[in-house]
Symmetry: C2
């Protein structure tokens, strides 16, 4: 699924990324991208609405993959674990593309218009995941909250993954981010054990 193919869309995306890095996003035109890929502008517009969209061509595949994963998780799995499990599995979509993902991430951070589109895509993803959870029978507020929490986990995991010098896979970072979010959201609100009971190191 979503394996890298030397197809027109893939060649255009690669050409675009090369040019964005060489001369910057703002100074690259659709004509430049098409020429670098050895294709026509007309072909470019068959695949992408504009030069931003090149960086989001995987969004549809990602959404389909996640919705499938959510739908096929065992019925007894709690919603947040369904979502985190699905996100961890996306490692197989991204593993061959860590360099592309790193460069893409740097562009998105640096350009407000790309960041905006990223936000919109992530919101659409959260909606799709929330709907997939509701089809599993998860009630509406919990489904949305689990989907939104999943996006928070995913953003954090993705950032850590693209920056990881040790090249651990995305699944590792999803699990770590889930644990981090857990610690942040509730760690400090857990009722404290009464003094003198079950405290590590006492006795």
């Amino acid at each position: 699924m979503a394996r890298w193919e030397p197809d027109a869309a893939g060649r255009l995306a690669e050409a675009a990324m090369q040019l964005y890095r060489e001369r910057g996003f703002d100074r690259t035109t659709v004509a430049d991208i098409a020429a670098r890929a050895g294709l026509t502008e007309r072909t470019f517009f068959r695949y992408f609405a504009d030069k931003r969209e090149v960086l989001f061509s995987g969004a549809g595949t990602l959404q389909e993959f996640l919705v499938d994963q959510v739908a096929s998780a065992p019925a007894s799995t709690p919603p947040i674990d369904v979502v985190a499990g699905a996100l961890a599995e996306t490692g197989q979509l991204f593993e061959q593309r860590r360099d592309f993902a790193r460069h893409r991430h740097a562009l998105i951070v640096a350009h407000a218009e790309l960041h905006e589109r990223e936000l919109i895509k992530l919101a659409a993803l959260a909606t799709a995941i929330g709907e997939a959870l509701r089809r599993r029978g998860v009630p509406a507020p919990a489904a949305s909250l689990a989907a939104e929490a999943g996006m928070t986990i995913f953003k954090r995991a993705f950032e850590a993954w693209v920056e990881d010098g040790k090249k651990r896979d995305l699944g590792h970072h999803v699990r770590a981010a889930h644990a981090e979010l857990e610690g942040v959201v509730v760690g400090t609100r857990r009722p404290r054990a009464p003094a003198g009971r079950a405290r590590r190191g006492s006795r």
Copy 2:
């Protein structure tokens, strides 16, 4: 702070909301809004960049308020409680404006271009809150995660608040949404007590 004043910006916002409800967002022009408010288009553009922005005029005040609240929370308060506490306090900004907020929310849900702008404003708010937490000494990943979790809480609380037939205040809904998120993110992952120990009702 942010009390409703019969000033130009406020009159324009009220006029815009009336017109959006009467004839729809798409069929309302800036000229219509200015005329309804008894002001000129020129005045409109002194306050707002376009007819979408009218619905987001409170974003700056909200951000300033939240950053202030975060900065002034006791040093010992855990980050998520700092954020949730700040969000609960926004009730005082919104209490007089529940009808406006409800109509505004309905418009945002119905119009992709408004929803996009809402996402951008919320992301900016999350960034500002994350930075305010870092200034308190919260390390970077935890600060961002607490801020993002805060936005999830806020969106959920706001929705519940605008729909609440019992008119409970926003602070109530922030606390409820925080508890809901807590239950979703970690409730089911808590290590289960070993069988026969500390189980309610045994003995």
